[in-house]
Amino acid sequence: MLDVGRHPNIELMAYSEVEKVEGEAGDFKVTVRRKARYVDEDKCTGCGACTEKCPTLLADAFNMGLGERKAIYSWFAQGIPSTHTIDAENCRQLQGKKCGICKKTCQADAVNFEQEDRIVELNVGAIIVASGYEVFDASRVPEYRYRDIPNVITALEFERLLSASGPTGGHLDRPSDIAAKAEIAALEKKAKKAKKTLEKLEEKFGESSSEFFKHYEGRQYEGDEDRKKWADRYMEYLAVAEPLEALKKKAEGFTVAKKLAFIQCVGSRDLRFYPFCSGYCCMHSIKEAIIAYEHEPETRSVIFGMDIRAVGKGFEEYKIRGGNQAGISYVRGRVAEITEGSDRRPVLTYEDTRERVVKSEAFDLVILATACVPSKGISALAEILGIELDEFGFYKTDVSNPMDTTRPGIFTCGCAHSPMDIPESVAQASGAAARAAQILLESEMRKAS
């Protein structure tokens, strides 16, 4: 990424969208909208001081909503370019409220609330569209209850949990436990505040709140308004303190997730959603199970799949290694249903095809291998580019020239072409570059002659 960012022949236009394409191979005119960041790219050093001071907390989309970010942010820490961006919809200042803290904090004077979208015209010989893919929305599969059961997560969410720079620092905490810990923190804050109020009253009346409350309940202070208020405060405190204690006790028993279930083909190879195979998810699940095992050797994973498609170089060997050395077992078949059992553990109903019996089994965490699907904007972009989509919703290409779209001079690669893994995407990207280079050289030769 950094190599691209620093290459003298590459001009990066992040946070920008293509709006119009005219002309033909060798001579395209492209209109690009450079969206307002409200931060001057030339001035911003990416130091992050603004982010530290920004008062608005939001769910962090990069961490799959598992962590938090501010209204002025960079997508992720090593992002290129490192220029920060203001999320206009959530920024206090831009929503007409009083704030502007980031502007005051910024030593480079890079924050500019008046910035507007800019339209840029480009003249290029060839276009490569590598607009990637989107991950299937797992909540569309009713039987897996992704929204309802907190410990059913997607493979990408799991990836963030495994990451040392992720929201849990790489510990496999269950989302239900993460939520409980957040609740404890919130209740503790409340309890602390309530206690402060009580302490003032205790000083005033020279008696501990619990002692006083015994007398109060014994109807000693009837008609005493001040003491009634004290009693109210005390009851409010108890309403927080009691569940807090209970939660804390429960949290003592929290351990990292050790028994994992991976469910393949969530949204893929399913006629209700997408008929195709997403290609990379089998290997993704195996990799995640192996990393989880490396974090915690007591981890045991079951991967449920119709076929385990380990078709790339070294993949089958990796799959076997996962089974022999990383506590993975592979079960052929589709999981029928997920429900929630005791201790917030997801319970899988499936046919164990090895024994040919239907089983109900609880796991600590269930990871859904969600499909690689065409991105939402792909049809709009295809229309702008004047290229066609195939029957699956990806860019249509010529079989004998897999990087050529239906319009000469426009090429594609990677998962915008169809689901594929990293080495295939990289090889195709080189291919698209070669095709584009040919167009440029041909048009140069034409001009020269």
């Binding site: 950094l2 190599d3 960012g5 620093r6 050093t45 990416g46 130091c47 992050g48 820490a77 090593q78 370019p81 490192s82 040392a164 620092g169 190879r269 008929p275 195709f276 195979c277 076929d307 385990i308 498609r309 380990a310 078709v311 790339g312 170089k313 070294g314 993949f315 089958e316 060997e317 052929r332 095809t353 040919r356 195939d390 699956f392 990806f394 079989v399 004998s400 020239n401 897999p402 990087m403 169809s418 689901p419 594929m420 990293i422 080495p423 295939e424 990289v426 090889a427 195709q428 990207a429 080189s430 291919g431 570059a433 070669a434 095709r435 280079a437 040919q438 050289l441 041909e442 030769m445």
Partner: protein, 562 residues
């Protein structure tokens, strides 16, 4: 005069070292005290500035280094962060941009060697990071400025193999205006495509696709084709290879090229002795293709067995293309004769991606039957029936057949090891050629100037071999479209005054970069081939072979600081 002073005098200016300590977010700072390391570094001799960065490799971090080089007149920079393997080039070029000689840059790996391996021991990890920084600073003081090595480039390419991958590479390279020499061992171009009938998933005729491809390549004026020829010898290095091509008859041709493409493909395994293979009623998918192509196919009860000689202890890998081939042929049979019974016995149907999975649905729709078998209970081919255990229903079944088709994997060519030796490029345990990086550099070899595509690397479909062949062309363009070749100055040098010509270094060099010069009775280094591994320097009994940037005084300064 002590060594330190001598080092300073050589540099002929005051040594001014800047130290940058990277938090790597929480990757390093989460497990050791980066602020303490920074404070410690600031007090080390010759260090004039020490800074801590959230991410030193970020744009902000780089900008900070460049600013410090100018502000503090730094002539040495030490970054304590991650692995030099991934980040040294970035930091070096950034220093160069700010006007410092990039070879005066040094790195300490406090992530891999401290925060990662001593995760639970914060104090000890911090102390070790201080040690590494101190050692790095000590070495940095003795670094010498170097100049990158430059060489000429010959804008011609040798493509070895005339199958889909090689033809596609040749076509694209020629289209970019480069001269191509294509060498094919067989008497005609086309490779495996010659033996195929119809192509999946779009039903194109292989012959049509092939003749189109061959016509395009042969019509290019800048492509020279040698069929029935083999590469006999390869010498030289990136930009300047000398190859000898041996035709079936006559003298070998000598050619000079700048880059080489390995596109030798792979061959289907001959299943001798497996499942009663006889080439008549038990045949391979390749033989079935021939029958379908010639019209000789007549069977009406066909059983196909997948993973024959693949995904087994002798050959662990999945050959990627055989499931698709089987389904395609099953559909062709059904298309010819809808009454025909076609049964596919498989372990996992590897129909990855969009169109292949679609074929699987369509094949089922046409009535092709799929049954799974377990690896440890392979089907048994008997007289007129195939017996197998269906694990999903727990029954043993027998299917009558008049033709059994075995799906065998693509295996590396027998002469792949020979080519591997000629080019000095590695193969994996399955004798497929091994790329420089499994994910990020799938088309490059670790040896500069040599590239790989198609089934020589790993079994590939026609479409994949095409993508890779075209892809190789742009990899080569990044080399040959430059005016000259520029490589790192971190190479070995041999002192001609002290070298006795024992040739110990020559034997140790894994890159063939050292030659013995009989007239001078000494060894010399080819600085383009040299990768700076240091084997020669470690071997030389007279300390005549030295590795720039890792000379004894530099390393000893580092060790003494420990």
């Amino acid at each position: 005069m002590n060594e330190r002073q001598r080092g300073k005098e050589e540099a002929q200016e005051e040594t001014r070292i800047g130290v940058f300590i990277c938090d790597c977010g929480s990757n390093i700072a989460g497990h050791l005290d980066c602020a303490a390391v920074t404070e410690y570094a600031a007090k080390l001799p010759d260090v004039v500035c020490a800074k801590e960065n959230l991410y030193t490799c970020s744009e902000a971090g780089i900008a900070e280094i460049q600013k410090a080089i100018k502000e503090h007149k730094l002539n040495r920079v030490l970054v304590a962060s991650c692995s030099p393997r991934t980040h040294q080039p970035l930091f070096q070029s950034s220093c160069a941009e700010a006007g410092m000689n990039p070879y005066l840059f040094e790195m300490a790996n406090i992530r891999d060697q401290c925060s990662w391996v001593h995760m639970q021991k914060r104090e000890e990890a911090t102390e070790k990071a201080k040690d590494l920084v101190r050692m790095g600073v000590a070495k940095a003081a003795f670094l010498e400025p170097q100049k990158d090595i430059e060489a000429s480039l010959i804008p011609r390419v040798l493509v070895i193999g005339g199958g889909v991958g090689g033809l596609s590479a040749a076509e694209s390279l020629a289209g970019m205006g480069l001269e191509v020499i294509l060498v094919e061992k067989a008497d005609q171009l086309g490779g495996l495509l010659n033996q195929l009938h119809q192509l999946a998933p779009d039903g194109d005729q292989a012959a049509d696709r092939l003749s189109h491809l061959v016509d395009t390549v042969t019509s290019k004026s800048n492509v020279t084709i040698h069929v029935g020829s083999e590469v006999e010898s390869v010498a030289g290095y990136i930009g300047n290879f000398e190859v000898a091509i041996r035709p079936k008859e006559g003298d070998a041709l000598k050619e000079k090229v700048g880059c080489i493409v390995v596109a030798v493909g792979a061959v289907p395994l001959e299943p001798e002795g497996m499942y009663g293979y006889d080439g008549k009623t038990v045949i391979t998918q390749a033989e079935l293709e021939e029958q379908l192509k010639s019209g000789a196919f007549k069977a009406s009860k066909v059983v196909m067995i997948q993973c024959v000689g693949a995904r087994c202890p002798e050959r662990e890998y999945c050959s990627r293309i055989c499931c698709m081939t089987a389904v395609k042929n099953a559909m062709l049979i059904k298309g010819q004769n809808p009454e025909a019974k076609v049964h596919i016995l498989y372990r996992d149907m590897q129909m990855y991606g969009t169109k292949k999975e679609r074929m699987l649905w369509d094949a089922r729709g046409l009535g092709v039957r799929f049954d799974v078998y377990e690896a440890d209970k392979p089907p048994e081919v008997g007289e007129g029936t195939v017996k197998f255990e269906q694990p999903l229903i727990g029954e043993t079944r027998e299917i009558p057949y008049d033709l059994v088709v075995l799906s065998t994997p693509l295996v590396a060519r027998e002469d792949a090891p020979l080519l591997s030796q000629l080019l000095r490029v590695p193969m994996d345990q399955n004798r497929f050629f091994m790329e420089a990086h499994a994910k990020l550099r799938p088309l490059d070899f670790a040896t500069d100037g040599i590239f790989v595509c198609g089934s020589a690397r790993y079994p590939a479909t026609v479409e994949e071999a095409r993508s890779q062949g075209v892809g190789v062309a742009s990899r080569i363009a990044t080399v040959l479209f430059k005016d000259k070749l520029v490589t790192s100055a971190i190479v070995a040098e041999i002192n001609p005054e002290t070298c006795v010509g024992c040739q110990g270094c020559m034997e140790m060099c894994p890159y063939g970069a050292i030659v013995y010069v009989p007239e001078k009775e000494i060894c010399e280094v080819n600085t383009i081939l040299c990768k700076g591994c240091g084997c020669c320097a470690a071997t030389c009994p007279s300390e005549s072979a030295l590795l720039k940037g890792f000379k004894p005084e530099q390393l000893l300064a580092q060790i003494r600081a420990m």
